[in-house]
Structure formats: C-alpha cells, structure tokens
C-alpha cells in the first residue's frame, strides 16, 4: 500500500491545483531556457546561412555584426586569389523596413552567393531555392508573405519562391534571402531624383574649378555614373566572405591574409564566437541569471508547498509513529509526494510549453538536452524541497497523536 498515493488521492483537488501551479512555474523555467537557446541560435542563423569558412573585415574591427567595417569592393578579387580559396564574395546583410500591403514590413535582407549558393542549405518548409539570379526571394514565414507573392522593393519586383522557418536575425526580424546582387540593389537603391541631384552637384563642383572649365571631358565624366569617376571611391562592403577547398584548412588562407595590412580574417568558428561574446552576450547572461533565479524560486515554492502539505499531515504522521511505522516509511511518504509533484508538474510544464511557446513572437528553442537537464534539476528540487517537511516530520513525537 502506497501511503503517498493514498494521501494524494484523499486531497486530490488541492494537490492537482498546486501541482499545476508548480508546472506553470516549470514551464517558465523551461521557456527561459528556450528563449536563451533561441537567442543564441538566432544570432548564428545568418552566419550559418551564408556558410562561410572565412570572414574578411576591416583591419582590427570585429566584423560586420559587432561594428562598422568598410572594405573596398575590389577586396573580393584579392581574397579569391588566395591559394585554397574557392569562392569569395561580398557579405550583404542589412535590415530594411518598407511598406507592403499597407503595413510596415521589417526584414533582414541576406545576399546569397549565386550561383554557388542558391539557398539549398536554408530551412525550407515550402517552395524551392532560387532558380535565377534576379528577382526571386526566399522569405521567412514570420514575414507573413505567401508563396508566389510579389514584393516591390526599390525599383524592382521580387517573387517569393520559397519559405523558411525560424530564419530570423538576432533582432528577431524575419530574413529574406536574395541573390547577392539583388540584395545590394535593394541596399543601395536610391531614388532617381537623388542620383540626378548628386550628378548635378558634381557637375557644378567640376565647373567651379579651372580643370573642369578647360577640359570638357572632365565635366562630361563628372556628371556620369559615379563608378566612372576615378576620384570617387567605389561603394564599400562590410565584409568579404570566402569558402576554402573542401579538405583545405581555413587556417592556411587566414595566415596568408594576416600579412595584409588593411584587413583581418576570421574563421567561421571565430566569427560565431565573436557574435556570442559580443552582441548577444549581455542578453544571454541576463536570461541565464533569470533562469537561475526562477529555478531557485521554484525550489523554494515547492519546498513551502511540501512543507505545508506535511504540516497538515503531522497528526497522521505522529499516528504512524505510534503504531510503530519506521522513519523510512515517513520519509518515503513525504519524499514520494514531492517526487510525484515534481514529475507531474514537469509534465504539465512540458505540455503547456509545447503548446504555448510556438505562439511567441520570437523563437523559444527547447532542446532535448535542456529538457533532460531540467528533469534532473526538477528531481533535485523535489528532493531538496522535501527536506524541510521531512525535518519537521522527524521532530513529531508519537504521543502527539493522542489527546
């Protein structure tokens, strides 16, 4: 006969209610862990999405996610010429907020390295990868775009050909993947009027100096496309990403570039490390601390619940001692109730969490490892929580059952 189960059955309503309460608490603990994982995972989504072996950035900067890095576009060719590098391109990633169907649409624009990367590696849930090097986009579900939907950005219209799930930037905005060219076109899109005004201004400046007045060709050039003006810098890029030969070590190419005075190269792993240590580090630690606090609070609350459950049972416990029940029986009664409560609460937390977390605006990533770890923690909490009750029960004298 299991005394713990009998007692629970006797005051079932109360036990169920308190257990659900503890379960909700555990759900929050679980959720905090999930938010933490989600944050870390989201932070790495972009770097994983582009799948680069090497990140080349402006010398002594920490790369495109941590701070501003400006590099000449021509660096792409220099990197591509390094032995072992198979493919180098500009890293294009930026966030835009436009109007779509009358509503603000905020998204991260990520450039894929067409034609080597058409987005096959992305977490597609519908549609297909890119099939042409212009005017197609793979959008994340969270952006609310449908397959086949047309999206006007700048001067061009793009068709949604694929949908991904949980491809979001570290700020939580959904990411849309374009070919690198399209992504840049979106980034550097300028209204025609502003280009006209800029050329007008250049022409006026050229006309203001002797050289411009005496050389009509200069005037001509100055009012043409900016790329044709030798004195103007080309558009800068924030980083160049490269892949190395399969089997080749990124380290070798990295060492080759370490001699270049204007850039710093990081391996993919180093870049992820920088991301986690940098931009998301505080958020990560913050959530971690909250999680620890919540775990402690859960333990305290459970201890108090088990303690009050025990207080209500002091008379029967004295009685059990009176009829000669060994301490083992009494400890078992309290400990088992604590474990049963912990186990059911864990189940409740899990069941609630798996239904609620997907409705959250940002990803709550509950991994099996974390679930297992939490189960261990709950087990520990249950045992620790019962100690206070057990201590109280041990001090009850059998003759308290009489009179």
């Amino acid at each position: 006969m299991n005394l713990a189960v009998r007692d629970i059955r006797h005051s079932l309503g109360r036990f169920v209610l308190t257990t659900i309460g503890v379960g909700m608490l555990l759900m929050v603990v679980m959720g905090m862990g999930g938010i933490y994982r989600g944050l870390v995972d989201d932070a790495l989504v972009v770097t994983r999405g582009v799948g680069a072996d090497l990140w080349v950035v402006q010398r002594d900067t920490r790369g495109p996610f941590a701070e501003v890095s400006r590099l000449p576009r021509s660096l792409v060719d220099r990197v591509a010429a390094v032995p072992g590098v198979t493919d180098a391109r500009e890293f294009v990633f930026h966030t835009i907020q436009r109007e779509h169907r009358g509503k603000p649409l905020r998204m991260g624009v990520l450039g894929l390295g067409w034609p080597t990367d058409k987005g096959e590696g992305l977490p597609l849930v519908a549609g297909r990868p890119l099939a042409q090097n212009h005017f197609e986009v793979i959008a994340d579900e969270s952006l609310g775009l449908a397959l086949g939907e047309r999206l006007r950005l700048g001067k061009d219209t793009y068709t949604v050909v694929g949908l991904t799930r949980w491809l979001v930037a570290s700020g939580g905005d959904g990411i849309a993947c374009f070919t690198s060219r399209d992504a840049q076109a979106i980034q550097f899109d300028e209204p025609g009027e502003s280009i006209r005004l800029e050329r007008q201004a250049r022409r006026a400046r050229a006309g203001g100096i002797d050289f411009g007045r005496t050389q009509p060709g200069v005037l001509e050039r100055a009012s043409g496309p900016s790329g044709a003006v030798a004195a103007l810098p080309g558009p800068a890029v924030s980083a160049v990403i490269a892949r190395v030969l399969p089997g080749a070590k990124a380290g070798a190419a990295q060492r080759a570039m370490s001699g270049w005075g204007d850039v710093t190269a990081y391996t993919g792993a180093e870049q992820e490390e920088l991301l986690l240590k940098g931009s998301v580090d505080r958020a990560r630690r913050q959530i971690l601390l909250f999680r620890v606090l919540l775990t402690i609070i859960s333990a305290v609350i459970m201890a108090l619940i088990i303690y009050t459950l025990t207080l209500d049972k002091l008379h029967p416990i004295a009685l059990l001692k009176l009829i000669g029940a060994p301490n083992r029986t009494i400890v078992g009664l309290i400990l088992q109730q604590s474990l049963i409560m912990g186990a059911i609460a864990y189940g409740v937390g899990f069941a609630l969490g798996t239904r609620l977390f997907p409705l959250f605006p940002r990803r709550v990533l509950v991994t099996n490892d974390d679930l297992l770890r939490l189960a261990g923690i709950v087990l520990l909490i249950s045992v620790v929580a019962s100690l206070l009750g057990i201590w109280k029960a041990m001090r009850v004298a059998p003759n308290e059952a009489i009179g």
């Binding site: 006969m1 009998r6 006797h10 029967p316 009176l322 000669g324 029940a325 009489i402």
Partner: protein, 244 residues
C-alpha cells in the same frame, strides 16, 4: 518462553517538567501480567493511568524503573527510538479513547497498514484486516473513510488495528468511552477472548464498571500510586452500577 510474563513492570516512576513545574505523575508503579491475563485499571482523572500506559507502551520513556515485555527487558542497554518503535509495531497493540485512524486511509487500509509494516504481503495483511473487521461487526464499512464512520465504528476499527499483528500485549486507554454499553461490553469480551486464545496480556484503563467482571485482575491508581484494587473497591463499583 512459556513461563515469561506478558508484562513485568517494577519501580516505574514518571516525572513531568522540572523545578517548580515538576509533576510526579506516577510513583514506583509495579505490575505483573501473565500471558492471557486481562487487567482493568481504574482511577480518577489525573491519577496517572495514561502515563502508565504510555511508559509501558514504549511511547514515553519513564524517569525510573524497568519494563519487560514478553520477557524482554526494554531498558536493557541502549535501545534506540527506532528499536522501540519496531518492538511496538510487532508486539504491542494500542487503543486510545479517541479513535486515531489515519484520515487518508479507509477502514480496511487502516488495519492493513500495520500488517504491512511488519512485512506481511499486502494481500495477506488485507485478508486478515477484513477478517478482523467482520469479527468486530464493521466488515460492511471496510471501504469507508474514517470521516464516514460513526464514533463507535471508528473505535472498532482501531481495536481491529490493535489486534492485527497478534501482539503479546494490548494496551487500551478508555477504549469504550465512545461506545454504547452493549458495544462496550462486546469490545471488552473480545479483548478477553483474544487474551485467552493467544496468550496476550491485556491492560484496559476504563471507567466502565459494568464490564469489570470480564477482567481477571483489577488495579486502581490514585495520585500516581498503582495498587491492586481491593474487593471493596470492586464491589462498590459494581454495586454502584447495579444500584442504578
């Protein structure tokens, strides 16, 4: 073992409190109970009867004196509380004035649990519990929770619990106070039958003088002093009842 007494108590003294709150509840009490002997213990309230039972029942330690149950000395050597509790569950059946049932177990489970505590398989313990409940006339209420039972029914379940492990000593503190006289007498007679059949020593604290003829020996206690009741006391008590 056959010659051993069910209970041998000598020089038992219990002092509660200390200094100016000191109460000598029991002074130098001695008693011998043979196997199969039934003993009634009379005395006014506050005389120390419960104190005597608690010391003999290994629940409260006496200040002085020795207790031997079934020939086993209880104060010999350092016996831990756990040992005493174990001895209690195996050899002593307790019944108190107010029924003391575990509220979250039903009637039969309340009896069954003591059988399981001494290591009987649940099915065996349950069968024995059912037999006892039937013998005590509460078989039909076996599955009721204590709160669903009347005072008398609760008390009979408590008696069944005390008998469940076939103890060598039964200690009952005013067990029939909550029962009508017919039921009260039945319980007393049951104690006697158990005593005679199994050689159990039985001590019953009672105010119920109507059932005194059931007992082999009558003790009385007053101001902490225990002694054999004189014929006159018993006759007076019984006569009192007859006169009513």
């Amino acid at each position: 073992m056959g010659e051993h007494l069910a209970l041998e108590v000598s020089g038992l003294t219990k002092v509660y409190g200390r200094g100016h709150t000191e109460v000598v509840a029991m002074r130098d009490a001695s008693m011998r109970v043979r196997r199969g002997e039934t003993v009634a213990l009379l005395g006014p309230s506050g005389a120390g009867k419960s104190t005597f039972l608690l010391c003999v029942g290994l629940i409260n330690p006496p200040t002085r004196g020795t207790v031997a149950i079934g020939g086993w000395p209880m104060q010999d050597g350092p016996r831990s509380l756990g040992d005493l509790r174990r001895f209690r569950r195996e050899h002593i059946g307790l019944v108190f004035q107010k029924s003391n049932l575990i509220p979250f177990l039903n009637a039969v489970e309340n009896v069954q649990v003591v059988g399981e505590l001494v290591g009987r398989p649940p099915s065996v313990a349950r069968r024995r519990a059912m037999e006892l409940l039937h013998a005590l006339g509460v078989g039909p209420r076996a599955l009721n929770m204590p709160t669903q039972l009347s005072g008398g029914e609760q008390q009979r379940v408590t008696v069944a619990r005390a008998l469940a492990n076939q103890p060598s000593l039964i200690l009952a503190d005013e067990p029939t106070a909550a029962l009508d006289s017919k039921r009260g007498r039945q319980v007393m007679a049951l104690f006697r039958d158990v005593a005679h059949e199994h050689g159990t020593g039985v001590i019953v604290v009672t105010h119920d003088h109507r059932a005194l003829d059931v007992f082999d020996t009558v003790y009385e206690m007053e101001d902490g002093v225990l002694r054999l009741a004189t014929r006159a006391v018993i006759d007076a008590a019984v006569g009192q009842v007859r006169a009513r």
